[in-house]
């Protein structure tokens, strides 16, 4: 994919696969492809960080390999492990057969269980895979150091087998919710982009693409109301994912427009904290809908 020519081409290709990126994100992705660098995406939950990797996979045709990080993740779950039960069976079998035990055979690729990082490095397909390292901030420092090593030379050494090296490096997307700072060394290795909430027009465009069953008027109302909600000083301002959910929830209820009653019953799809819902109610749901009128007039 290093043959993309410019930023606009990236944006168009992403749009063709239902992802509307702004100038900054498109540039970041373009550079990640051109410079063959991992892309570190940070941003609030639900702004579409993970989606970037998915759309890259759809676009390039590469396999999407996802590594979900969690506290305590280690090499056995992220890189490789040996298939111990099969190794034991194999040992028993060769013992019963009276043959000698060949240790090299026991630690051959036959018994190697490839975890996401090794799969991404040792791929053989025509297209390089898209490696998504999701929520890296959940893993611990040790794992980060480990990841850095792999992302630096796109090579993994299995002591018993030798070194796997990527012929063409995978496209790497690392996401973080920023519950803690990712280590500087890893950040230096990556290109960095912060994804913010989209503005009204872009959110509307996203709704058109991602929720095609939603009528234009409703989409405008929902995008406007979400924008108003984000101004409310909430614990968790709704992300794009919530906007889409909300619009689809309203459609599922058979409504074609957003009114106070509909907002009341569907509020749980956008606001996931009781306190936030109360804040929205005390602010006045009518108020939210009035905010909706504004952008419509503006257009």
């Amino acid at each position: 994919m290093t043959d993309v020519k410019n930023v606009d081409e990236v944006r168009e290709a992403l749009a063709a696969h239902d992802y509307l990126a702004d100038e900054g994100l498109a540039t970041a992705i373009f550079l990640a492809l051109r410079l063959e660098r991992p892309l570190l995406l940070e941003g609030e939950a639900g702004v579409g960080k993970t989606e970037v990797a998915k759309v890259l996979a759809r676009w390039t045709g590469g396999e999407l390999i996802r590594l979900q990080c969690y506290e305590g993740i280690d090499a056995a779950q992220a890189v490789y492990e040996w298939d111990y039960s099969r190794q034991l069976l194999h040992l028993r079998a060769s013992e019963a057969g009276g043959g000698p035990i060949d240790e090299d055979e026991l630690y051959s690729e036959r018994f190697l269980v490839r975890r996401p990082l090794l799969r991404a490095i040792a791929h053989t397909g025509a297209q390089p895979p898209v490696l998504l390292v999701d929520e890296v901030d959940r893993a611990d420092d040790e794992f980060e150091a480990f990841l850095l090593e792999i992302l630096s030379d796109y090579a993994i050494t299995v002591p018993e087998l030798g070194t796997f090296r990527a012929e063409t490096p995978p496209i790497v997307v690392v996401t973080s919710n920023r519950t803690r700072d990712v280590h500087d060394a890893l950040k230096r290795r990556c290109l960095y982009h912060w994804i913010g909430h989209p503005d009204f027009e872009r959110e509307l465009a996203i709704l058109r693409v991602r929720a095609p069953g939603v009528r234009e008027e409703l989409a405008r109302q929902v995008a406007g109301a979400v924008e108003a909600l984000r101004d409310l000083d909430l614990y968790k301002p709704p992300g794009v994912a919530e906007t889409i959910d909300w619009a689809q929830a309203v459609v599922a209820l058979g409504s074609t427009t957003l009114d106070a009653a509909t907002v009341e019953v569907t509020l749980g799809t956008v606001l996931k904290y009781r306190e936030d819902q109360e804040r929205a109610r005390s602010h006045g749901l009518e108020q939210l809908l009035n905010a909706v009128e504004r952008p419509e007039r503006a257009s």
Binding site: T27, L31, E71, R92, N177
Partner: protein, 370 residues
Amino acid sequence: MPPEAEHDRISLAFARVLRGAGLNVPVGSTITFAEALAAVGLDRRDDVYWAGRVTLLRTPEDGDLYDRAFDAFWDGRVEITAPATAAPPLTLAFDADRDESDDENDTTEIGPTMQVRYSRAEVLRHRDFAAYTHAELAEARRLMTDLRLAGALRRSRRRRPTNRERGRPDLRRTVRRSLRSGGEPIDRAFSAPSRRPRRIVLLCDVSGSMEAYSRALLRFVQAAVVGRGRVEAFALGTRLTRITRELSSRDPDAALAAAADRVLDWSGGTRLGDGLREFNDRWGVRGMARGAVVVVLSDGWDRGDPDTLGEEMARLARVAHRIVWVNPLKATPEYAPLARGMAAALPHVDDFIAGHSMAALEELAAVIAK
């Protein structure tokens, strides 16, 4: 000039501008930026802007500074000054002007070293920080280096090998061992869950009412940050400032000075509720405080709305393992938590302790490890 040289030149020049504006730009990033320029070209302002932003920035907080630097650079005005980091009103050094007479006393008192030092340490252990002389504060600083903070242990998902014959079978080692016995898994290996210390989050009130204590407590916080990896530190004043990075320097003077530079509202008022809210929104509830031991070092005097404080404490209590509130005023015999903020916070506090002296800080260390 060949284009590559042009990209390099621009990259280096802009990096210099950014550094001048106070951003940390490693050399590796300027190389990447030059490559990025080669990829996007120099024709469009937006392309150059984002190429720099993607390669040179590493936190969204630096965005404003970057924007200003870029505007100036693009327009050809290269004079940028760092944003005036207001000189902190309080010098953090522990040699604040105090009665010189004390110093003289000290020099006369110090006799045979070992014994006197020991007894001094003993006396110091129980004295209120507010009553410290400059020399005593220096002594306390040294003592604090020995204070080790470790969070209470919790089970980790990681497993470790064990010699006991129970737990979960450790197949990796079993396979290895069975090679020794001709393929027969006679000598089986096991693994047990390992234990990890919980994260400790320290929120240190740096408002005016805490001034007598925050000097000493901040040093305590610094010792904690340096001591082990999983400690996060914040200064709470009229706003919230994360000071983990600043405090992680091993040299206490450098660390405290760096923190003082960072904290702009030193010895101002406190809005505990708002500060906690910001902590919860930006760090705590998202993950930092989850399962952690959260320590609030504050006297509970709050200019903000006590309801906000109560609400935010409740939110924090729902994700934290334990909340320890350290209030130096608690040491006074007649103390009652009457400050409205303190009263609102108390229902959500698991341990309420004094923290006004070395001995009390030792108690704090014990409570955190509980």
